[in-house]
Symmetry: C2
Subunit: 146 residues, 2 copies
């Protein structure tokens, strides 16, 4: 297995009501969290409030090992790791599309980020309809959503 050794920059940290993994709901959608950006990156947020939705990438720091087949709460049989979104993955990178509720200086209040307290944020990208909305998408075994 090939690897790349990198230093990931922690651009910010999540503040959430969920303090531990067992506190967090399974793919809850409506939780409000705060992303507190490191002030070194503040200029990188300029005009972000013009976007209603963002992609958030985060490092799943509590994730340990992974399996290629995963038992999820949504089915009785296991499914493959790349056709599911469990936190235990070959690279523990979380991704969520969130609603941007409010920005206050280096703090962004978001809705729908399923990350626990203290989770390191590694990237923020704008959600753009022309690139990200796939209305005709079909979700394999997961017809009802995760």
């Amino acid at each position: 297995m090939k690897k790349i050794s990198v230093d990931l920059k922690i651009i910010g940290v999540v503040h959430s009501l969920y303090k531990t993994i067992s506190d967090a709901p399974i793919r809850g959608k409506n939780e409000i969290s705060e992303i507190k950006l490191d002030r070194d990156y503040l200029e990188g947020l300029q005009d972000i409030e013009g976007f209603t939705h963002l992609h958030i990438l985060y490092w799943l720091h509590k994730s340990s090992d992974f399996s290629l087949l995963v038992k999820t709460p949504r089915d009785t049989i296991p499914h493959s790791v790349f056709s599911t979104r469990p936190p235990h993955r070959p690279n523990p990178i979380g991704h969520a599309v969130v609603e941007l509720v409010e920005r206050k200086n280096n703090k962004i209040i978001v809705k729908g980020l399923d990350a626990i307290e203290g989770t390191p944020i590694i990237d923020i990208k704008p959600y753009v309809k022309s690139l990200d909305v796939k209305d005709d998408a079909s979700s394999g075994w997961l017809k009802k959503g995760i």
Copy 2:
């Protein structure tokens, strides 16, 4: 600036018509590429072909330094890095929503991956309408898409 030192696993590699950054179009949408998964992860692709769209995360291995304000081809004034999608970012992680055209064993043919030849793939996640489609999204300064 805080950092985490990690070994990212290269789960696969992109084969693209675009051999260098200068070959690649600006956010082209219709290119066909192949993701060749490392055979060690093959079981992790099981039943992936049931999904029409995927999120692909990749390591922008040719990205060098970054700026917090970026001049993009879409506007005459600079915009902040987290409200744009240039490859030069604090953490050079690319994200694209792609169409899954075909799977052949450990190879996935996809449409819409703006990554050059040899780009390391670090995660594949299923695109799920109930989580990822935000029809009411508004795109800030980028009203026409990136």
